[in-house]
């Protein structure tokens, strides 16, 4: 009986979690909180207990928190077997076994995959190996980079002006270092927030003394005879001398270890259903393999059931909680992962926050504050609906806009808001470089507040 099987797993099953970081830890805690009393194993390739990454590009670089001390607080005792410092190297779906790089094998009744992503390295290997070239994803990366920055390099060169790159630039400037940042698009953060907001981010960088180069790509990193990086070559033929290069080109999903396992895992992550159950390569849902965090791709009802991969701290927590809940639940008690995407960043002491999926928006209007003052809320619209919002130093309002997104509130925003300026009365194009718009479909909205009682409200498309 399947019902009894679930009850058995709850009581004495074996649950294995691969990826011992944010999502892994929160899932483990949720399993115990919800009454799982069986055997719990956490496998992680890093030699450390779960730690927090957001400070690594912020407080840690400023010396306000040591990169060695960003451990995640435990919410409860999890009584787990830890296998740290050893990567999982393979998965046998039919035998229900995880293989470890040290040759060991661990059997499971339910598996959670939370292997996250890693930083995309500089593609030319020899150049990537030059002394002074850094990535920033792990605690070790941050420790090494910080050490180098403290030594007072003459110039730091950052490749890529996404969130991570911008944060590093901000930290370096605060340390008084010379910084050049190169970006292929027309402004920083354009991919995430569009050109209107990107222009604000660009001003922020240049006003704080960053030498910002846009619409250029880095063509080569040049080293000296002793293998230290010394200059960066750009597509506009300019050369910038720098002794530290931070490569900030996005991420790659940690799915290689699943090659050949039959799981639907690839460069875009591991696809799963709304309940966090992984698909196999045939698109059929598995019943005992679950996914959570940065490595997952899951369909989101609010956004046309597109499969979203979110590299967001809050998503990792929420998805881990949902996955853990569903792992030890019967079908009818399972919950969909309906978390509304949200992300924060802080650069040059400006607090940036977004909710929803801004790149899906084609228009934006500034409903509070002003771009010129760099204190505002911008609302993104897509086909007559509020789809996302972003705030600069105004994050306390975002909760409201999250509800607007969840309710499929109409766009443009017609009602008056406090601190609405004339510039914010009309929507303008949000100016994303390559809008990948979902196809128009029926409207789905969210109701209810807590994960346990959130419901979908379905409104058929009108013709």
């Amino acid at each position: 009986m399947p019902a009894d099987h679930v009850e058995w797993i709850r009581r004495e099953g074996r649950i294995v979690i691969v990826g011992a970081s944010l999502a892994g830890l929160r899932a483990a805690e949720t399993l115990r909180a919800e009454g799982f009393t069986g055997e719990l194993t956490l496998i992680g390739d890093e030699p450390y207990e779960p730690y927090d990454r957001p400070p690594l590009s912020k407080a840690a670089l400023l010396g306000m928190a040591s990169p060695r001390h960003t451990e995640l607080p435990h919410r409860r005792e999890i009584d787990a077997k830890w296998r740290l410092g050893v990567p999982a190297s393979g998965l046998d779906l039919s035998a229900k076994r995880v293989r470890l790089a040290d040759g060991d094998e661990v059997e499971y009744d339910r598996l959670l995959i939370a292997t996250g992503v890693r930083a995309r390295p500089w593609p030319k290997e020899a150049e990537a190996r030059l002394d002074g070239v850094f990535l920033l994803r792990t605690r070790d990366d941050a420790t090494r980079l910080l050490q180098k920055l403290k030594a007072g390099p003459r110039r730091v060169f950052i490749i890529g002006a996404g969130f991570a790159g911008c944060e590093v630039a901000s930290a370096c400037r605060e340390m008084g270092l010379q910084v050049t940042m190169a970006e292929r698009a027309g402004a920083p953060l354009v991919g995430a927030l569009g050109g209107v907001i990107g222009a604000v981010a660009a001003d922020l960088q240049t006003e704080n003394g960053v030498d910002l180069r846009t619409r250029v790509t880095v063509t080569a990193l040049e080293g000296d005879t002793s293998g230290r990086v010394r200059a960066v070559h750009l597509s506009d033929e300019s050369v910038v001398e720098a002794d530290v290069v931070v490569v900030s080109l996005g991420s790659l999903r940690n799915t290689e270890w699943l090659t050949g396992s039959g799981l639907g895992a690839g460069p875009r992550g591991i696809a799963c259903d709304a309940g966090c159950r992984a698909f196999d390569f045939r698109g059929i849902v598995t019943d005992d393999v679950f996914v959570a965090g940065d490595v997952a791709r899951s369909p989101h009802a609010l956004f046309g059931y597109q499969f979203l991969s979110l590299e967001h701290w809050g998503n990792a927590v929420a998805q881990a909680e949902t996955a853990a809940h569903n792992m030890i639940c019967r079908g009818a008690d399972r919950r969909p992962h309906l978390w509304t995407p949200a992300f924060w960043s802080s650069q040059f002491r400006v607090n940036i926050k977004s909710v929803g999926v801004p790149p899906m928006g084609d228009q934006i209007m500034i409903t509070q504050g002003s771009l010129a003052e760099r204190r505002f809320v911008g609302v993104y619209g897509y086909q007559g609906r509020v789809i996302a919002a972003v705030s600069f130093d105004n994050n306390r309002w975002l909760e409201f806009y999250r509800r607007q997104i969840e309710r499929g509130a109409p766009f443009p925003v017609e009602f008056p808001t406090m601190d609405r300026r004339p510039e914010g009365r009309q929507p303008v194009p949000a100016d994303f470089p390559d809008p990948s718009l979902p196809t128009h479909g029926p409207t789905v909205t969210l109701s209810g507040y807590s994960p346990a009682d959130q419901q979908l409200v379905f409104t058929p498309a009108r013709h």
Partner: protein
Amino acid sequence: MTQAPLFRQITDFANRADPYPLYTELRRTPVLHEEEGGPYVVSSYYDIEALLHDPRVSSDAANLAASEDDGLGMGDETGGLPPSFLRLDPPEHDRLRRIANSAFGPPHQPRRIENMRGELDGIVTGLIDGFGDAREVDLVDQFAYPFPVTVICRLLGVPREDEPRFRSWVDPLVATLDPDTRRSADPEFVKTAQESRMQLGMYLAGLVEQRTKEPQDDVLSDLANSRGPDGAMTMMEVLSTAVLLLIAGHETTVNLITNGMLTLLRHPEVLGRLREDPGLSVRIVEELLRYEPPVQIVPQRTCITDIELRGTTIPKGSRIWLMIAAGNRDPERFKEPDRFDPDREDIQHLGFGSGIHSCFGAPLARLETQIALSELARRLENPRLVEDPPPYRPNAVLRGPRHLNVAFDGLR
């Protein structure tokens, strides 16, 4: 006999000691509007939270529809001082709060509060030692009031010995926060409030002037000499900010500490645990802010457009009451909401509000109360309530006991 409208029963002093059954009744009607011209009363956790983040909801009394004005509008109440940032909307609110914040916290004064720990310990020890050989004290007069007053005086840079003077101005001002006194506002009351505010302002002006010439390491000096990216406050803005900080800086903490000790005495097992483990005070204070929040109602909100909430339309210009204390015990949000349980998993209370007006002094209030309660627990031998319930202060907004007589066998 017909029952008085619920919202009037809440402000009725007769129900002060235990308003919670009324709150339970309130929550049955998520948006309660009982009287023409009366407030729209909102009492469920999620609705309050939503309204606290709603950019269509204003804190500025100027947005009240004329018919809702209770005769205590801005011009009347201020006694010549501009409204404090608590009663302003963005962008003015943001500017003033940021300047004030830079005097208090990071990044400008990252450790001003945390550095006060030793000093706070010292004040608490002194006050408890001061109980001497007594076997019964009024915890309000002898502890819960003098402690935060001493602290806010030190922090702002107001001479402690002036306390009797400013207390006589503060009390009438605090009374204006009570919806009940407001309703029965007679011209005399309005006049006293105005005069008190003006007197307090003039008193503080003297101190500020002195700090402008000779800055010291205190908040008044920082306010008077602020030169951040937001520019300086005007003299009048400094004064209304100082009035706000002085009042808010202690009136609420008194109640938090007193409600705290009352609750602990009603839950001796928790008091016992706290005695063994002062670290538990962190959780106890959070749970207190949920269970017995010192600010029970936020009565100063108005909407700048019609707002639809749970099927009811709150018309533009209406007065909205956010029933913080009712929301904190909303079963939709908390399991067993009426149980005092410091071991609760997530205590996301509304005790400090939320959104742009969320309590500015929260870090200080938390620290003060943690220290106060753990020290009382540690030092009072076999403490007992002399009277339960104790007599309450009249105010329904800032709710707490007027006296809390506690008997004990001695000091440790």
